[in-house]
Amino acid sequence: MRNLETDYPEALKTEEITLNMGPQHPSTHGALRLILRLDGERVVSARPDFGYVHRGLEKMAESLSYVQYIHITDRIDYLSSIMNEWSFCLAAEALAGIEVPRKAEYLRVLTAELCRISSHLVWLGAMGMDLGAFTPLTYTFREREMVLELFDLLCGQRMTFNYFRLGGVVRDLPPEFTKQTQAFIKYFERLPDIYDQLLSDNPIFLIRMRDIGHLSPATAHSHAVTGPNLRGSGVAQDLRRCEPYSVYPDFDFQVVTCQEGDALARYRVRVEEMRQSARIVAQVLEGLPEGEVRSKVPRVLKIPPGEAYVRVESSRGIQGFYLVSDGSVKPARCRIRVPSFANLSVLPQLVKGVKVADVVAILGSLDIIIPEIDR
């Protein structure tokens, strides 16, 4: 029998097409543009193009005082704002040599873990949406709303918290906060089962997620991929454990890893991480020490000349601030290391040869925040 494709190449002339996915597209999670070369439905190559929401956040730091810049850091990664505030405060505190009271450290851990839960919830809903299941989103947003209400109670804001200060946090927990948070944690414990019913036990979900976007530890390291994406490839790298900052050594939690390295592994890591974060929150509430929530810091703070690079484990990976001080009230230079940038850089490798539908699933599984990349 003759083969149409090999014997008559001129009869079956095919062409590659270029498809611009984005910047306005429902599943590029913001203004990201993917330039895809397609052979039919198969991806030949992909090139991410970003910068559509560049706001000059790094430059902005040079014209604002340290305290004024804290609320700007909320806008870097709007889903894990607390971690951005944290790494900035840590860098500035390291430069100025400010001590943070123990209670403030506990509150920082508490808010950061709540923030991680809410960030992963948004991701979980969006992941379902990327695969065409709309309903998980409404459920995860219902739960996220509870976390946001806790934050509302705590600092009057739902997303851009502006809660940290140099040398501590802005205020202590309101009286009803502990009770509400405990109620939420209790409620949250049984939620992963509901999500399992909706997504992880669903055969369609499994065949869509399994064996796509396989990320090997070597590729992950060479692209500086961090966070749940790296842990999904079986590397137990978590700054909270391997380079502990603040009071994380006080708490008992697991560094969640999954060996497979595919989209499903990244999914499992994040769902499990939510449970671990809930565990940490419960421990913080139990062992909350008494005392000040903020050390004495002069109102006009002149930071001695020097430079510092500090990194924390944000919801998406390693988030770092590099600050240079020239002795004035403002940073002389600020550079932000964002996890999403590195995590996106691995996408062209992951999507080579897959179908268009998988591009969406893989991109979703990497959990990318565009404003964070563009800064």
Partner: protein, 345 residues
């Protein structure tokens, strides 16, 4: 419902009246026939629009409650007028043709898609004497007129001048052709048992609903029907998260409304077909036939809606695997088993 459809006895009288009117006005008798046909079409269209409106409202409400929301609430009591508001919005919107589009093909596509679904309504037996046209090959007719819809979708995808639409159109063609096969074969089991293609006779021959004898056939039919109507989990032709809206990305206003209408009409037709063939159609105690028919159709429609709001979407190749490697062989097996049992018993 009796007022929307001219029942079998009423229509000839009406037709005679129209013919008389045409002669009286000095027009050929043919004009009366045309007027009669137009009247039936108008009635069907009204029925179709009404069904779709109820269906859209039901879908939005059911989806809302499945998703821990409450659905439309603002327009009218519990949002019942929301669909009418949306319809008005779609009708008054500017109809716009993209510059890169193949103008005439682009314009025709929605009507081709809609007509394919709409024509099938003619032969559906709503009640013992409430069928717009009683055909003795009703089943073949319904299945046959529904098929050209895919051409309309291809036309839309091809003519829009948009790559997403093109991919959506191509996916759609592949999908609908693949699922036509198990769909038709799953129906054959019923035809073999009842020994007729006449929908009336099939309903009358069901002492017990055929779903008892044909559970596998019903299952295959249901899955293929969801795929035929391009609904989740088989909505890859319009996969929102990948292709924005697939073949109707570039459509707006009334033309989009026709695609929308077509999707729901197809859903209704296939559910009605399932109710007729597998659930005993209009048969049932106490209530009039059409109530039973609509209730059974509604139950299947609820399944459609339920699927849509709980399942993730398949990938195109997985969808093909499901059709060719699982459903089609199973459908043949079902056919073989039915034949063997009929011969042996």
């Amino acid at each position: 419902m009796r007022y929307l459809f001219a029942p079998a006895e009423l229509f000839p009288i009406l037709l005679e009246g129209l013919r008389g009117l045409a002669v009286w006005a000095g027009l050929p008798v043919m004009a009366g026939d045309w007027a009669g046909a137009a009247l039936v079409m108008f009635g069907l269209f009204a029925f179709c629009a009404l069904t779709v409106m109820v269906l859209v409202y039901a879908e939005r409400k059911i989806a809302g409650h499945m998703q821990a929301r409450i659905g439309p609430m603002r327009v009218g009591w519990h949002g019942v007028l929301q669909v009418i508001a949306d319809t008005i919005k779609l009708i008054v919107k500017e109809t716009w043709v993209p510059g890169s589009a193949d103008r005439w093909v682009y314009r025709c596509a929605p009507y081709v898609v809609f007509t394919a679904g709409f024509l099938a309504l003619i032969a559906l037996p709503l009640d013992r004497d409430l069928t717009p046209v009683h055909l003795n090959l009703g089943l073949i007719y319904i299945v046959a007129v529904g098929t050209p819809g895919v051409i309309g979708i291809l036309m839309a995808g091809w003519s829009s001048g948009n790559k997403y639409s093109l991919i959506g159109g191509m996916r759609s063609a592949a999908q609908m052709i693949s699922y036509e096969v198990p769909l038709l074969i799953s129906l054959m089991g019923v035809v073999m048992i009842s020994g007729t293609l006449d929908l009336h006779m099939i309903v009358e021959s069901q002492r017990v609903p055929y779903i008892i004898f044909q559970p596998l056939g019903f299952l295959i039919f249901l899955i293929s029907a969801v795929a035929e109507t391009n609904r989740n989990p088989f909505d890859i032709p319009e996969a929102e998260s990948e292709l924005t809206a697939g073949f109707h990305t570039e459509y707006g206003g009334i033309r989009f409304a026709y695609f929308f209408l077509a999707e729901y009409v197809n859903m209704f037709v296939l559910s009605a077909l399932a109710a007729t063939l597998f659930l005993g159609g209009w048969q049932g105690p106490w209530f009039p036939g059409w109530v039973w028919f609509l209730a059974k159709t509604g139950a299947i429609l609820f399944l459609f809606i339920w699927f849509r709001w709980t399942f993730p979407r398949f990938r195109a190749d997985q969808l093909m695997d499901l059709s060719w490697k699982i459903l089609t062989p199973l459908a043949f097996l079902n056919l073989l088993a039915t034949g063997l049992i009929l011969v042996l018993l």
